[in-house]
């Protein structure tokens, strides 16, 4: 049964001030209602005054999504009552959005490139936020926080081109990366992205799932909804056309069959704002390098493998970090260490790439390049740096750590005693090797590695062991 998914994605733009007033958008660590003014509180008599930077940001998005930008866009009022909506209407765009008919390439389930069509892109203001006081499903009352009221949002609507929850998730991730490359969005901001998903089984009714507010939530909500719809169909019933809410904590969607869902928004043009001439404006915008172009550049000018290039460029901060540390002189070594080793260690610590000291990392790469430490030793150095950074300390330099942990790749003869010890304590393995079992050498090298705590190069150890026990003629 084919699954058909379309998304409506709301992203908070990272302008310094709100969409229609001068209040700061940096409210997340501040008490409620401290980033407000008469305009974003909707006090009687106030008028919206458009933040042109927000339009510029939104146009960057429209351009990056290959959209057709309209000659003129127009703000409209979406009328509905809700306690977090200070004016009783939301200023948005309706029949004259910024842009239509775009597309974004993502990686499909089968690994090929897939084009997801973008229906439209428009701007709107965020409402405030309700905080419910009291327990669970029956709060005693609600408080309103208007700090969020008036934050600029961009809404991106896709055609129903997505075919699985994984694909939807990948679309969102690709979009996030693109928006971050454009410098208009910060995916780490809590609540900065909200998704409504339209989902149906082939020839079935469309169900709208609202209220998805995390990256993981998209996949979870869709997976749940597909199972639910399949079960309905399996029981011989038909899926009802409805709006459902996603309850993140429980991972389920529930029907929202309450009165406030049956809206007639009574859209009409916002009389307090003039139409925006956006086509020419957009033509003048020069976009920064986007992920696809950067991937090509990483491959072409650094020789980075396609898979490493995809990983690196899939995260703006990671790609920037790579470009910072590529000065170590060995791009392929740098790519491997950033995309594989560092990324894993950073995920493990739930740490931001921005907190990794690039200078230290370059020095580490140089030590590796000069083979002054082994790969294993390098990982230990990296872990020490990350742990110290995570604790908020100024990390020690790689050289200091190497010396402290005695990780320096010692000169061959320094391991003489270790080799002798291994050979003497494992006569059976030695005998096996001499009898022509080459895998016995691996065992001996392992023993030696253990005793040198990883400071030695395994290849070097193998050579030395072979020398010590005399060849069987079998080449290692």
């Amino acid at each position: 049964m084919t699954v058909i998914i379309g998304l409506e994605i709301h992203c908070q733009l990272t302008t310094r001030t709100k969409l229609f007033c001068g209040c700061s958008t940096d409210y997340r660590n501040d008490p409620p209602n401290t980033h407000t003014c008469p305009i974003c509180l909707g006090l009687p008599g106030t008028l919206p005054c458009l933040n042109r930077k927000a339009v510029e940001y939104a146009l960057r998005v429209a351009k990056a999504l290959n959209c057709t930008v309209l000659e003129e866009a127009e703000f409209a009022r979406k009328n509905y009552f809700y306690p977090d909506l200070p004016k009783g209407f939301q200023i948005t765009m309706y029949d004259r959005p910024l842009a239509v008919d775009g597309h974004l390439e993502i990686e499909a389930d089968n690994g090929t490139e897939k084009r997801i069509r973008i229906t439209r892109v428009h701007m709107e203001e965020d409402p405030g936020r309700l905080v419910h006081v009291g327990s669970g499903d029956r709060p005693r009352y609600s408080l309103v926080d208007y700090n969020r009221s008036g934050i600029p949002l961009i809404e991106i609507v896709t055609d129903p081109d997505l075919r699985s929850p994984k694909e939807a998730r990948r679309f969102i991730n690709t979009l996030r990366t693109t928006l971050e490359y454009l410098g208009v969005f910060d995916g780490d901001r809590e609540g900065g992205l909200r998704v409504d998903a339209n989902i149906s089984m082939e020839r079935g009714s469309r169900v709208e799932v609202k209220n998805i507010s995390s990256y993981k939530g998209v996949e979870k909500a869709l997976t749940f909804e597909i199972t639910r719809q399949r079960n309905v169909i399996r029981r011989g019933l038909s899926v009802e056309r409805e709006t459902r809410h996603f309850l993140e904590a429980r991972g389920v969607t529930t029907s929202a069959r309450s009165k406030e869902e049956e809206h007639d928004y009574r859209y009409f043009p916002e009389p307090d704002l003039r139409p925006l001439r956006v086509r020419e404006w957009c033509d003048a915008i020069v976009l920064p390098e986007l992920p696809a172009a950067r991937r090509v550049r990483f491959a072409d000018s650094f020789g980075v493998s396609p898979s490493h290039a995809r990983t690196l460029c899939g995260d703006l901060k990671l790609a920037d970090f790579f470009e910072e540390v590529v000065v170590c002189g060995d791009p392929i070594l740098a790519a491997t260490w950033v995309a594989d080793t560092l990324l894993g260690e950073v995920y493990y610590r739930d740490m931001e790439i921005a907190r990794v000291p690039a200078g230290h990392f370059v020095e580490l790469l140089r030590l590796l390049k000069k083979k002054e430490i082994t790969d294993k030793g390098g990982v230990e150095v990296l872990r020490a740096i990350l742990d110290q950074s995570a604790r908020g300390e100024v990390p020690e330099t790689p050289a200091t750590i190497v010396a402290r942990l005695n990780l320096g790749k010692a000169a061959g003869d320094a391991f003489g005693p270790v080799i002798r010890e291994v050979v003497e304590s494992c006569p059976a393995a030695v005998q096996d090797f001499r009898n022509g079992k080459p895998e016995a050498l691996n065992y001996l090298v392992g023993q030696a590695m253990k005793r040198t705590r990883g400071r030695a190069d395994p290849k070097e150890l193998a050579r030395m062991i072979r020398e010590a026990i005399g060849g069987s003629g079998v080449t290692g």
């Binding site: 106030t46 008028l47 005054c49 004016k87 009783g88 009574r266 009389p271």
Partner: protein
């Protein structure tokens, strides 16, 4: 700076909702002049009720742009004047604070909705006042009370701080006893404000020459047609005749779109109002009731209790006009009619410099006389075209009928506020005031 008040004292015509003596002093073009401010214009520290119960207890934390401007020029504020609730009316009877009486005849209405501002000026309580005009709300009371009132071109005066009734139609404007005073107040309040995106930076340069030689005046037949009291029409024709004697010439013309103007106006203003007035839900300001109940119930109770009958009627009309399935039939059609009105004016203005006619079809009617809302709406027929087209229009007194003032309305090309005031000035001088 804090308002000194509340001030009580004689207010025989119930012109004020709040009286105060806010005299910041200081020098400027309005130094020492006390100005009355319509109660839908925000004043920091002075309650601003819009004539409505729903805003009881609300004191704005900020000043409207025009209020900042007049204070900066040394004016004081004498108080906040009575009005039809949220500007919805043509008689100042629809106020939660009781009707205002016409100083020319206290048994009659002062017109509306800026009736308090006009009465305060006409009664000599203040030399100047600020009003707002959505469909005639400055010109109507100016005509009924026998003073001068200007509705500026759309976009000429900042609306920042004016509690919106119908954003695309309304402007704040000056009322005073003479054209010169109106011109002075206009010069101050028209200064640019980037907070109003519909405003342009077009400084007002007063130009009162009193010279009308060669001026071409259009007098559309529709402004003297059915529904216009013949005596009022006669008064106005005489006034236009006086301008002719001073060298102007009258060009006959017609304005067919007048047939749809009133309908276009009421659909537009009620639609916008239904949206503008949605914010009065009791959450942030107004009646401090306990609203810890399902929000549907709380909103319904606050709004049912707070809004008067006419406001509720217009909210319902506007909500209907914007509804899915009716938008095209009402709102969209009204906008088309509105464009026709603008086109008609543009066509007429190719041949004339100003258009003249009566401001109101009748003189002031008796308090309580018009009980049917439709007959009240009909009295706006001559004033709404200027709002639909965004052109400047002034009402200047031109004699009396049965002892009651008549207003001569002069409309001009978009942004030619200076010209309509100059023509009004010429008439005022010629009439030997």
């Amino acid at each position: 700076m804090k308002a000194q008040g509340p001030v009580t004292g004689e207010d025989p015509f119930n012109a004020f909702i709040t009286r105060c003596e806010w005299k910041p002093g200081g020098k400027g073009m309005l130094a020492g002049i006390m100005v009355a401010v319509k109660d839908n214009i925000s004043t920091r520290g002075i309650p601003t009720s819009c004539g409505s119960r729903i805003l009881e207890g609300y004191t704005p934390p900020y000043n409207a742009h025009v209020v900042d401007l007049i204070l900066r020029e040394g004016a004081g504020i004498a108080g906040k004047t009575n009005m039809d609730e949220f500007g919805m009316g043509s008689s100042t009877e629809n106020s939660a604070f009781g009707p205002t009486k016409n100083p020319a005849d206290p048994s009659r209405v002062p017109g509306g909705s800026s009736g308090g501002s006009a009465a305060a000026v006409a009664a000599g309580m203040v030399p100047m006042a600020l009003g707002s005009d959505t469909g005639g709300s400055i010109r109507c009371p100016a005509a009924f009370c026998g003073i001068v009132g200007l509705k500026p071109s759309y976009g000429r005066v900042s609306r920042y701080g004016l509690v919106a009734y119908a954003n695309s139609l309304e402007q704040i404007g000056p009322l005073a006893r003479t054209v010169r005073e109106v011109s002075l107040l206009m010069e101050v309040i028209s200064r640019y404000d980037p907070r109003d995106s519909t405003m342009g930076d077009r400084p007002f340069t007063p130009r009162l020459t009193g010279e009308v030689k060669g001026l071409r005046i259009g007098a559309p037949a529709e402004f003297f047609g059915a529904g216009v009291d013949p005596a009022v029409g006669e008064s106005v024709r005489e006034a236009i005749g006086l301008l002719e004697q001073s060298g102007a010439c009258v060009v006959p013309c017609s304005m067919p779109s007048m047939a749809y103007a009133l309908a276009a106006y009421y659909v537009t203003c009620t639609s916008e109002a239904s949206s503008n007035l949605a914010r009065f839900d009791g959450v942030r300001y107004g009646t401090p009731d306990d609203i810890r109940k399902p929000w549907h119930d709380a909103f319904r109770e606050v709004r049912a209790k707070g809004f008067g009958e006419e406001v509720r009627r217009r909210i319902l009309l506007g909500t209907f006009a914007l509804s899915a399935g009716y938008y095209g039939k009402y709102y969209a059609k009204a906008q088309a009619a509105r464009r026709n009105v603008s086109a008609d004016f543009a066509r007429i203005f190719r041949d004339v410099d100003v258009i003249a006619g009566p401001t109101m079809p009748t003189v002031a009617f008796r308090i309580g006389e018009k009980t049917d809302p439709l007959s009240m709406y009909l009295s706006d027929i001559l004033t709404v075209p200027a709002n639909l087209a965004g052109i400047p229009a002034v009402s200047v007194p031109c004699g009396k009928v049965n002892g009651l003032p008549v207003g001569l309305q002069i409309m001009g090309k978009p942004l030619e506020d200076e010209r309509v005031l100059d023509v009004a000035y010429a008439y005022e001088q010629g009439a030997g005031r």
